[in-house]
């Protein structure tokens, strides 16, 4: 969060990983900034259905130290690249129920294009790169470890991803 002289971290954003429900309203309320004309919040919620089956709940696991470090780096890089006023991300760990928020990303910038683009970039890298895993528990009693990132099957390299976000900005 040290990118721009205008940037800061929202209050309550210290806990990047949390086993408690994420406080979206508080995070959002803390994410307005006099220099920012645009605030974008993304909430990744647990859907009731996936792979044609009804989901009971998800369970998230992380390599916590590495995950926190990588999320901080992604936020810092996005802050620099888009001159953000605010960049916040939080991810749930443990059991998360239907319609609950599993991950939240908030970005704020003077104009709206940057806030949207940066938000998407952060989510995209978070999903592909950060060591957080979900296990889906279905109502039929089965469960399945999520494999959202199967880029390596295509790129042949676990460190090389195919991003949704359409930009060359992912090169580090």
């Amino acid at each position: 969060m040290t990118g721009s002289p205008l940037s800061r971290q929202a209050a309550g954003a210290e806990n990047i990983l949390s086993d408690q429900p994420l406080q979206l309203a508080e995070l959002l309320a803390a994410s307005h900034h006099p220099g920012a004309g645009a605030v974008v919040l993304f909430s990744g919620d647990v859907r009731i259905n996936n792979l044609g089956k009804e989901v009971a709940y998800l369970e998230f696991e992380a390599q916590e130290k590495l995950a926190v470090k990588m999320i901080r780096e992604i936020l810092d890089q996005a802050t620099q690249k888009w001159q953000l006023n605010i960049a916040v991300a939080q991810h749930r760990l443990g059991k998360v129920g239907i319609s609950e928020c599993a991950v939240v990303v908030i970005t704020a910038s003077p104009h709206r294009k940057e806030a949207y683009d940066a938000n998407r970039y952060i989510m995209d890298r978070l999903k592909h790169e950060v060591p957080i895993w979900k296990c889906e528990y279905f109502t039929d009693g089965t469960h399945k470890w999520g494999g959202n990132c199967n880029c390596a099957e295509i790129t042949g390299n676990p460190a090389e991803h195919i991003y949704e976000f359409n930009s060359t900005a992912h090169e580090k």
Binding site: E61, Q63, H128, W133, E153, P158, A159
Partner: protein, 77 residues
Amino acid sequence: MKIEVFAVLKDFYDKQFTIGETLKDISELKRYLITQKPEAEGILGACRFAVNDELVGSHYNLKADDRISVIPPSSGG
């Protein structure tokens, strides 16, 4: 060295275990893990490795007291 595995890898290995053998680098560790559980070869090919909470490449030289995380593809969010 201490090994910790995550997510789907727990279907193949204990969550945490210790390896007494001397292994030169990450490539050798990967081969060792495949020997232990040949059915994990596919997923291990897609894994990254971290030593003491830092991502490392396959040529990283392992030390006896290293703490290694075996990291399957992410699926957060």
